[in-house]
């Protein structure tokens, strides 16, 4: 999947104009991802309801804003004089966030989330080599990892099999994005501000056959009988249901799917390399 997307990215860059004011650009910056994830909201709510009487601090309703760094490489078309501005770029960014439930004896259930995006987008607007403003459209290949650990009273952190919910779970989906960017600065370096919204993944139908729900990285748990009481190889939305009957839980599609979406705000620098101004 990722190979096909990147091949598409390469083709896009191939046909982009390479004469005159075209140049390779390299962007790097810091971003905030303000997102909603209905699946994790249900998981947090379910966990809080189950353990409310033993709680010192409940899970927050959802993850707090994720933050992280990213980079992109692409072709920019811009002139010294004001006019058409185009930028086709592809790159990667990683955002992190976490949510913690604390028991009254100070042991903790921690869920950390890493959001990895490979994005390819196109900006077409107005500007020159010093300033531009442009709407952005593109798509994301999103690959998330959820680290579900338990922290004991002595500080030991475990992803082991002794707790049913422990594990490291991944999910991958493809989604679109739209937004805008503004850049200003000098000829070879611009400060870029971007606001891009990724929307709900394409083709989300919630069917259990699809590989878009959070699954454990390996078959660590396959050696355990898949009956009541065995560790989970996925993150359930409804925990009591999962604990009561795991097979029925799977049949009922009781999985947390990758369906987060929201606004990405980033600020960074754009370096214009191999500038050709003939």
């Amino acid at each position: 999947m990722i190979n096909k997307l990147l091949s598409l990215s390469i083709l896009l860059l191939w046909f982009f104009p390479t004469r005159s004011q075209a140049q390779i650009s390299l962007q790097t910056g810091y971003g905030i991802y303000k997102f909603k994830s209905s699946g994790f909201e249900k998981f947090f709510d379910s966990y809080n309801s189950m353990n409310a009487s033993n709680a010192s601090e409940l899970f927050k309703e959802d993850f707090s804003n994720a933050t992280g760094f990213g980079w992109r490489i692409g072709y920019v078309y811009a002139k010294e004089e004001f006019g058409l501005y185009m930028n086709a770029a592809t790159g990667s960014s990683t955002y992190r966030t976490s949510n913690t439930f604390t028991f009254i004896n100070n042991s903790k259930r921690e869920l950390a989330l890493k959001v990895n995006d490979w994005s390819t987008d196109l900006s077409i607007g107005i500007g020159n080599t010093y300033f531009h403003i442009a709407p952005v459209v593109g798509f994301y290949l999103r690959s998330n990892t959820a680290y579900m650990g338990y922290i004991y009273t002595d500080g030991t952190k475990s992803y082991g099999l002794e707790k049913l919910m422990n594990g490291i779970f991944t999910a991958t989906r493809f989604s679109g994005a739209y937004g805008a960017e503004v850049g200003a600065g000098m000829k070879y370096v611009n400060i870029i501000f971007r606001a891009v919204r990724s929307y709900k993944p394409f083709g989300y139908d919630g069917s259990p056959e699809r590989q878009d729900y959070y699954k454990d990285l390996t078959d660590y748990k396959n050696y355990n009988p898949n009956g009541a009481g065995s560790p989970s190889s996925y993150i359930p939305e409804n925990i009591p249901f999962f604990l009561t009957d795991q097979l029925a839980s799977e049949s009922a599609n009781n999985f947390v799917h990758l369906n987060d979406h929201g606004w990405h705000y980033s600020i960074g620098l754009q370096f214009n390399l191999l500038f050709n101004n003939d």
């Binding site: 390479t18 033993n54 490489i73 004896n105 390996t218 078959d219 660590y220 050696y223």
Partner: protein, 166 residues
């Protein structure tokens, strides 16, 4: 084709190759790299009471060594590779040295490490560990070996396995 196109193609090709590898495949060379031999420096077991205070502590040493190999096991699809665990008992009370070997498989994803026997259970060290120290020549893994009680009133035993590159 322009110079820019060549550079872009090279950069993205390297990225594609890197992205295509599973994390277990990227991490495993840290164990099987070089001669792949790691001494089990120590195996420390620590028990805690409900308040998190230590109630018992013991350490086992000279347990032997592990030979990690790059070959995939039957579960290679999931990143498992084969290895050999060799337990060497030194001379005790003038008794001869004993060698005990176990075929094993392992997987290592940067956060967790699992070792298990392919023909029977490896005593003491078999299990799914959480990685706590990940140095080039020394690895430390921990595992909860027993757990009783409730989340707010638990008694547990933690074991720490330390490997040192030979």
């Amino acid at each position: 084709m322009t110079k820019q196109s060549y550079l872009t193609f090279l950069f993205l090709s390297v990225t594609v190759l890197f992205s295509a590898c599973d994390i277990e495949d990227r991490k495993a060379p840290q164990l099987y790299g070089g001669n792949g031999k790691w001494e089990i420096e120590s195996y420390e077991s620590i028990s805690y009471d409900e308040a998190g205070a230590i109630t018992n502590k013991s350490t086992l040493e000279n347990l032997g060594y592990i030979q990690f190999m790059s070959s995939e096991s039957l579960f290679g699809l999931y990143g498992y590779r084969v290895g050999l665990f060799m337990k060497i008992d030194s001379m005790v009370n003038n008794e001869p040295i004993k060698y005990t070997g176990y075929f094993m498989e392992y997987v290592y994803d940067g956060k967790r490490f699992q070792i298990r026997g392919t023909r029977g259970t490896i005593p003491i060290i078999e299990g799914l560990y959480t990685i706590t120290k990940d140095k080039k020549n020394r690895k430390e893994f921990q595992i909860i070996t027993s757990f009783e009680g409730t989340p707010v009133n638990d008694i547990h035993t933690r074991a720490v396995l330390t490997l040192k590159k030979m």
